[in-house]
Structure formats: structure tokens, C-alpha cells
């Protein structure tokens, strides 16, 4: 699913600390189809930077990055947008829901940017409700995201990420804002989704229990992948 070779990424800084800030200095790793991969590392090590590249939000890097057969750096803005729209799904630490829309409209947001084959409003709402049921918040249909608990918000965000049946879910510290009980429930949900639909998971986390549950752990240290293996190895 993912093949990364020699990924280098640096930020150009302005102002007092003007200059180049190298963050990734040659990252290599693979994630197989249907795998559950955890990305770990210290704060500031470049995990979010790597996810932004994987998610097609940033194509200013060097090296080779192929996701679902697409070489991301060569895609146009329209192609990258279609990729974000349907090939992958994003889940963020801060949920990033739109508070002025209903829960269903939040889930169906990707449908508004779909380029091939528009769906009717009814079809969109039906799909949104079905997904809310899948992630376990069917009782929140019609509510506003503002009225939901943290765990429910993250379930809603996951439902949105699943809207176009993506091949890959990219999650940046999805349990970082949750208490341990909610976090455990979200991890269970990820595993269930992977088992039921075969979606590939790439999850950035600080949470040792997530890393323990992963098929593969990718640790970033000093801009390179320090160790890549199964979750149990890390724990050991």
C-alpha cells in the first residue's frame, strides 16, 4: 500500500531563525495492504510531517513515495484532491469537524468534492447515517457535533474518513485528546474496521497500547526510521 524510499523533507524558516529546518532525512519503509501500522517518535520528530506527505496535503519533498500505486509527487492539484477525497481518509487529533453542519452533513462532506458521479442528497444522507451506525453513534443522527463527547466526535470524524470507502486511513494521534476508556474504544473500532473491510491503517501515536496492537511499528528518530517491525518487538 505504501512504499517510501529516501524521503527528505525540510521546512524553510523565515524571520529570526531563517534557514532550512531538515525534518525527514531519508525515510524508508513499507506498509502492506490491510496492515495496521503505528508511527511513533518523540514530539517534534516529524510524524505529522510524514502523514501530511502520505495524505497528499504536501508534495514539497524529495524521494519516492508511492501510495496505492500512485507516485504522489507527480500528481496535479486536481489528482491529489481526488486522492484525498476517495483513496484515503484522514483522522486528526483535534477531530476537525464543522460545527455549523449537522453530524450527517459532516460525514457526507467528502461527497461535495467528488468529481466523478454526483450523488443525490438522499443518497448522501443514507450513506452518512449508515456510517454513523457503523461507528456506533446512530443515536446522534440530526445532532450538531458541538453536543458530542470527545469519543463521539472522533467516531464521527472516522465516519467522515470512511465515506468513500478509502483504501488507507491516515490518523494523526487519534486518541491524543481522549480519556483512556474512549481511547481504548476507538482502537477497538479501528481494529474492527480493519478486520471487516480490510482497510489499511497508518496511525501516528504516543499511546503504547496502540503501538502494541499494530502489525508494524515505524519509529522516527533524528529524521530517519530507526526501527521497523511488529508491535510486540517494541514492547519487548
Amino acid at each position: 500500500m505504501i512504499r517510501a524510499r529516501g524521503i527528505r523533507k525540510s521546512y524553510r524558516l523565515a524571520g529570526a531563525r531563517a534557514g532550512e529546518l531538515p525534518v525527514l532525512r531519508g525515510v524508508d519503509f513499507d506498509v502492506e495492504d490491510g496492515e495496521f501500522a503505528a508511527v511513533i517518535g518523540r514530539s517534534g520528530s516529524g510524524k505529522s510531517t510524514l502523514l501530511a506527505l502520505l495524505g497528499g496535503l504536501d508534495s514539497d519533498y524529495s524521494g519516492e513515495l508511492k501510495v496505492a500505486g500512485k507516485d504522489l509527487r507527480t500528481l496535479s492539484d486536481a489528482e491529489l484532491s481526488a486522492y484525498r477525497n476517495a483513496t484515503i481518509g484522514f483522522v486528526f487529533q483535534a477531530f476537525h469537524l464543522l460545527d455549523h453542519l449537522s453530524c450527517e452533513d459532516n460525514v457526507a462532506l467528502p461527497a461535495l468534492f467528488r468529481v466523478d458521479g454526483k450523488e443525490s442528497k438522499e443518497a448522501r444522507l443514507t450513506r452518512a447515517r449508515e456510517l454513523m451506525d457503523t461507528v456506533g453513534i446512530a443515536d446522534k443522527i440530526g445532532a450538531r457535533p458541538g453536543t458530542l463527547s470527545g469519543g463521539q466526535k472522533q467516531r464521527l470524524a472516522i465516519a467522515r474518513a470512511l465515506y468513500h470507502r478509502p483504501k488507507l486511513l491516515i490518523c494523526d494521534e487519534p486518541t491524543g485528546n481522549l480519556d483512556s476508556a474512549s481511547a481504548a474504544a476507538i482502537i477497538a473500532l479501528f481494529r474492527r474496521l480493519r478486520d471487516e473491510s480490510g482497510v489499511t491503517l497508518t496511525i501516528v501515536t504516543h499511546d503504547p497500547t496502540i503501538a502494541a496492537a499494530a502489525d508494524r511499528v515505524i519509529e522516527i528518530r533524528d529524521g530517519v526510521v530507526e526501527l521497523a517491525g511488529g508491535g510486540e518487538e517494541v514492547q519487548a
Partner: protein, 459 residues
């Protein structure tokens, strides 16, 4: 696109207060724009529609003049005759040709008691027009026709009007002399301009009653042709007639009375030569459409005639200048408003970074973001423009009301000074939307180029 419309609608609702504040300038600017444009159009309608009708031209014979210092000497002056009328009829774009003839003998009028309480004696300016020119223009226009020649019939003596057939009066014989005979009234028409000027200014200067056109119809005036207060006629003879006003028409001579052409020709032949019957002083040329006026005027001049300038061109030009100056001012207001719109959109784009980032993350292209923001700007512009036009319309009504209630009468005082056309409204709305889109252009570009990763991963 329709799905982006849903986002635009939602954003408009969410940011209604911001947009309302941002659009105040646009509303004011568009209100000024629509107001002055409508004022220009309204005034143009009065000036070019009523004061200087534009669908006709008056053609006169070309006069050759020699300017010697301050003196200009008339060297030669061709007359207009039936041949000239025929030539003009052949010009493309001409709908009709109507000769006019001046009375070449002096005439005086006596009357006015019915109207202003006293008889007045006045030199009359008499013009003749082809009755066909005014046919159907006012009720009773069919009465405007030449009366039977009194010299060709034997008059019946009478003592009072009642002794004569209906529509005739008992009065002095045509060529004077003792006794009274039954006579036809000579129908005349007058110019509404005369009435306007009288009611609008003269009346108040002399403290006379206001005249109502309907009330004036049927008024009579004694006329003596060949008589003059200043100059004796060539023939030492007078013709006696009684004139009766049958209607008002702007085809009538502006100051004076207008008779059927053949009636004037009859007097001119009587006091002059037989050729006087077809010696026209000018010819009114009616034109098929206003757009052809210039072309027809040019063709007529190429035939060797002269087109009198009624002042319409200068008046039209002045109005255009007025409209131009004020629409320029309004454009500046709207332009400043667009800068304000730009500031507000920059602020909104900054405030909505997260929302824009979310949309990008779920598949919005840069162009989608740009379209959403420009769509919002266009909607804000359309709404502000509609409010502005409404404001302009309301202001115009207040103006018209104040004018009707509190301004004294003046010539051509219109009921409304404004003309709001569909075109004008469409122009104002397009203008408002266009300027808002222009103002939002840079903010929309910035939004489209924003780095979504930085906002979404919490930096």
C-alpha cells in the same frame, strides 16, 4: 457546483453579520449609482421625449449666407416645394413627410375674455401643418381640417348663432362689410409647450389663473388676416375669421397658432401669388426609429437641405455628461467599498483557515476553495446590490413626492424624475457582484494557496 452552492449558502448564513458590515459601502455605492443613472434616464426621457422629440427632424431650405464681420447677409434661399417633399419621402428610414407653411401676411388676434377675463389684441404667428401629421394624436383631431372656401359659397345672412347650422357661428363676412353671415370656425391647434411655459412661469409673474388643457379646447379667437399693428398689408384688404382651438400637439408651432396647411396656403395665395400654395417653409420628416435619426439627417443634408437643430443634441450631451460624472463618483464609492470587502474577506479567510483546511483534506481542490469564496462574494454583492437599488428607488420616490408637494410648477415639471429600467437594475446588480468578486479575488487566492497541513496538525 451545486454542492458547492450548499457550502456557500451555509457560509453566508454563518457570517451574516460580517457580510452585512462589509456590504454597507457596496449598498451606498450601488444606491448612488442606480439613483443617478435612473435620474439621468428619467430626465432624458422628459427632455428628449417631450421637449425635443427625437423621432422627427425639421428640414429647411439651405440658405447661403455670407458673413461680413458681425453682419450675415442672406444671399440665396431656395424654397421647399412639392418636389423637395417628394425627394425627402424617398430617403431611407423616413416614415412620413409633412410640410409646414408660415402665414406670410400679417395677422392679429382679438380675444381671451373667456380665459383670462379681458380681451387682448395680439400679433399672431400663424403656421400651417399637414393635418395628417396630427391625425389621431388627440381626441377631435379629425376636426383639424381645412374649411370650405367662403369665396366659393354664397353666405347665408343671420342674426344669431342659433340661426346657423350646428358648428357654425354668426359673424362678420369673410371679406368684411356690413351685416352678419353664417361662418365656419377655422380649427387651430396649439403647442403644449406654450401651455407649459404659461403655467410654469408666466402665469405666476402676472398672477393669472392656471390653465387646464381640457378647459381650453373650444376657446375661440377673432383673427384678421392682412391687418397688423406694425405694418400695413400689401393688399389693402382684411379677411375676417374666427379661430377655434381643437387640440394640443407638439407638432404645432411652439409660440403661435397652427392651422391646417391648405388654410394657410389659401391666405398666402390671396395676399401673394398662386405659387405660394406649395411654397413650404419647412418640412417635418418623421423617422422610423430613433436610432436612424443621425443617418437620415446625413442623407437629407446630402440632398442639399438643411436640418434645423432643435437643441436635442446639446441637451442629450449635457445629460450624458451629468450621468457620466455621477456614475463615476458612484463607481469610486463602490471601488472603495470593494477594498473594504477585500479586508473583510482577508479576515474571514484567516478566521476560517481550519474550515478551509478541512475541506482541502476531504478532497477540495484549490479551485473549489476559490470558487466557494468568490461565490460568497458574488452573493454578498447581489444582495447588497439589490438592497442598494431598493434604497435608490425609495429615495427617488421621496424625491418625486417632495417635488410634487413642495416645488412650485415649472415648465415640463414631470411626475417622476427617474426611470428605473430592467437594464438599469441588471447593470447595478452586475456591477455590485462584479466589484465584490474583484474585492474577494486576492483573499480567495490566498485561501486556495493556504497550507492545509499546518492548520490541521495544530501548528
Amino acid at each position: 457546483m451545486s454542492s458547492l452552492g450548499a457550502i456557500v449558502r451555509g457560509n453566508l448564513r454563518n457570517n451574516a453579520v460580517h457580510f452585512a458590515l462589509a456590504s454597507v459601502g457596496v449598498i451606498v455605492g450601488i444606491a448612488a449609482f442606480a439613483f443617478f443613472l435612473a435620474l439621468g434616464a428619467g430626465v432624458r426621457e422628459v427632455v428628449l421625449g417631450k421637449i425635443f422629440p427625437l423621432d422627427q427632424l425639421e428640414v429647411i431650405a439651405k440658405s447661403m449666407t455670407l458673413d461680413v464681420g458681425p453682419v450675415s447677409l442672406g444671399l440665396a434661399s431656395d424654397v421647399l416645394d412639392e418636389k423637395a417633399a417628394e425627394q425627402l419621402r424617398g430617403v431611407a428610414g423616413v416614415r412620413g413627410v409633412y410640410p409646414k407653411m408660415k402665414l406670410t401676411a400679417p395677422a392679429i388676434g382679438l380675444g381671451g375674455k373667456q380665459i383670462i377675463g379681458n380681451d387682448i389684441r395680439t400679433e399672431l404667428i400663424i403656421d400651417g401643418v399637414d393635418p395628417a401629421l396630427v391625425q389621431g394624436e388627440f381626441s377631435g383631431s379629425d376636426q383639424f381640417r381645412v374649411v370650405p372656401d367662403p369665396l366659393a359659397t354664397t353666405p347665408t345672412a343671420c342674426a344669431a348663432d342659433s340661426a346657423c347650422p350646428k358648428d357654425m357661428y354668426c359673424g362678420k363676412p369673410y371679406r368684411g362689410g356690413p351685416g352678419k353671415v353664417c361662418r365656419d370656425y377655422v380649427p387651430v391647434i396649439a403647442s403644449p409647450h406654450m401651455l407649459e411655459i404659461y403655467n410654469g412661469s408666466l402665469r405666476r409673474a402676472y398672477n393669472l389663473p392656471r390653465l387646464n388643457p381640457d378647459f381650453l379646447i373650444g376657446v375661440t379667437l377673432d383673427m384678421q388676416v392682412g391687418a397688423s399693428m406694425v405694418q400695413a398689408a400689401e393688399k389693402d384688404e382684411l379677411l375676417y375669421e374666427k379661430l377655434k382651438l381643437v387640440g394640443f400637439s407638439d407638432k404645432a408651432v411652439p409660440l403661435g397658432v397652427t392651422l391646417p396647411l391648405s388654410q394657410v396656403a389659401r391666405y398666402n395665395v390671396h395676399f401673394g401669388a398662386p405659387e405660394a400654395a406649395t411654397r413650404y417653409h419647412s418640412i417635418i420628416v418623421k423617422i422610423e426609429s430613433k436610432d436612424q435619426v443621425a443617418a437620415v439627417a446625413k442623407a437629407i443634408e446630402e440632398l442639399g437641405f438643411e436640418v434645423t437643430d432643435g437643441g436635442a443634441e446639446q441637451a442629450g450631451f449635457l445629460i450624458s455628461v451629468f450621468v457620466l460624472v455621477f456614475s463615476l463618483l458612484s463607481t469610486i464609492i463602490v471601488g472603495i467599498a470593494a477594498v473594504n470587502i477585500m479586508h473583510v474577506f482577508f479576515m474571514l479567510v484567516y478566521e476560517r483557515q481550519r474550515e478551509i483546511g478541512i475541506m482541502r483534506a476531504v478532497g477540495a481542490r484549490r479551485s473549489d476553495i476559490q470558487r466557494i469564496i468568490l461565490g460568497e462574494a458574488a452573493c454578498v454583492g447581489l444582495i447588497a446590490g439589490a438592497i442598494g437599488v431598493g434604497l435608490a428607488y425609495a429615495t427617488s420616490r421621496v424625491f418625486d413626492y417632495v417635488s410634487a408637494q413642495h416645488l412650485p410648477d415649472f415648465p415640463y415639471k414631470p411626475e417622476t424624475y427617474f426611470a428605473f429600467s430592467v437594464d438599469l437594475v441588471a447593470l447595478a446588480l452586475g456591477f455590485a457582484a462584479g466589484f465584490c468578486v474583484l474585492g474577494a479575488w486576492l483573499p480567495a487566492r490566498r485561501a486556495a494557496r493556504m497550507d492545509p497541513a499546518a492548520v490541521l496538525t495544530g501548528r
